[in-house]
């Protein structure tokens, strides 16, 4: 297939060369112009989110290294649930009896706790500082150890779930009173900035952007795993040098010289 008023064929070699950042097409070739435009230096409008990004950076700098702690918590949760399971082995007979008598109201999933001792042991006592697993499987504890988000983060999430005009209206609701008080002003943009500056709930709990809440991870439309959070992001091999270091980024130079 040929293309372009320059008459150069768009074959694989030409394409690969274009993709590598060289521009073998004659000056004024439409495709060269198109790609150059797509790579053009940054505009002010594109950098409008800089303040918010910096605020998030500052907030992260003043919080403890959350992701590692979170992973720790997951491991701890597994360990604890194993211990609980071990304890369950010793006591399952008594528990089954007690549950049958209805004298153990705190046992989660009553029907499941009376299984014979020969099956997988069930955790029977939620830890005091741990939400009770909805289904008492040992592995369930690992996914439920994330602490419930503080009320303000909860409010932020709900606030950000409102679109446009609804946001201002929502702020007049007493329900969001605490959020307005913390943000300092009954102003949508102000509250939004305040919320963006908050530390996020830890990995494994709900994300904070609208539309993605309470959504189970599932494969994306192109078949890639739809996991959210940083865990999967780290699958990317940072050290492979898989980019083109030889071509300075036009947008980079623009952004950097503007200082």
């Amino acid at each position: 297939m040929t293309a372009g008023k320059g008459g150069s064929p768009m074959d694989r070699t030409t394409a690969e060369s274009l993709l590598r950042g060289g521009h073998p097409l004659p000056a004024g070739h439409p495709l060269g112009g198109l790609l150059a435009a797509a790579q053009a230096p940054a505009t002010e409008r594109e950098l409008a989110g800089e303040a918010a990004a910096l605020a998030a950076f500052r907030a992260a700098a003043h919080s403890p290294a959350r992701p590692r702690r979170s992973r720790w918590a997951a491991h701890l949760g597994k360990l604890l649930s194993l211990k609980v399971a071990a304890a369950a082995i010793a006591t399952v007979g008594g528990v089954a009896l007690a549950a049958n008598n209805g004298s153990l109201p705190s046992v989660g999933g009553e029907a499941d706790s009376v299984v014979p001792a020969s099956t997988a042991p069930q955790p029977v006592q939620p830890l005091p500082d741990q939400p009770r697993p909805e289904r008492p499987r040992p592995s369930a504890a690992a996914t439920t150890t994330a602490p419930a988000p503080p009320p303000v983060q909860q409010l932020c999430r709900e606030f950000s779930g409102h679109a446009g005009d609804d946001r201002e209206r929502a702020l007049h609701d007493d329900y969001f009173g605490e959020l307005v008080r913390r943000a300092g002003k009954r102003d949508g943009a102000r509250v939004e900035r305040f919320c963006q500056g908050l530390p996020r709930p830890s990995r494994g709990s709900q994300p904070t952007w609208p539309g993605a809440t309470s959504q189970p991870p599932r494969p994306g439309p192109d078949g890639t795993p739809g996991r959210r959070g940083g865990g999967h992001d780290r699958d990317f091999d940072h050290d492979s040098g898989g980019t083109r270091p030889d071509r300075p980024r036009p947008s980079a130079s623009n952004g950097l010289t503007r200082r």
Binding site: G33, A37, A56, F57, G220, D222, T243, R249, A252, G255
Partner: protein, 211 residues
Amino acid sequence: MVAPEDLDAVVSEAQSGDETAFRLLYRAQQPALLRYLRVLVGEDAEDVASEAWLQIARDLRTFSGDWDGFRGWTATIARHRAMDLLRSRRRRPQAAAPAEFLTELSAGDDTAVSALELVGTDAAVALIATLPREQAEAVMLRVVVGLDADATGRILGRRAGAVRTAAYRGLRQLAARLAQPEPPPPPEQRRSSSWSSAVTTSATAALREMR
């Protein structure tokens, strides 16, 4: 002008908490991320980019790598946030935001056709966005984000060869569309030229695919 090897140092300075360094990274990477996201989610690109930067700021200390790695890492994060949004759109169908964006393109198509060297960034990205998504993503990640086929393949979950093919097909389609208006038809006919209808048709296809 900051050379890429200097940006390697900037990455590690930002990781140790240097705010100025983080600002540099933002200015260097945000335009590419934003344009890539525009191809994925249209007008929601700014919001998704903001979400991505919150996560980047939060997780930067856990990242290990240089400037090249940083570009791939941030593109991965941006893509995940975009996929979250696309999933939620499928759950709660709403008015198609990208359609408005594409209207801008067709309104500006005279410019795109007659003065291609002067084509604006928005129009260029919008035209790329009309490609089938796998082609559009391959072109954007390679040309705009500046990743090679291997790195792009890791982000898209595809082999490097498949990425090369998708990018090649994308470029070939773009070249074909740009070449269509030759010789230039009279102005009244140009609106209904095959170039416009080709874009419209495949824009619809791209939109369908995005949902």
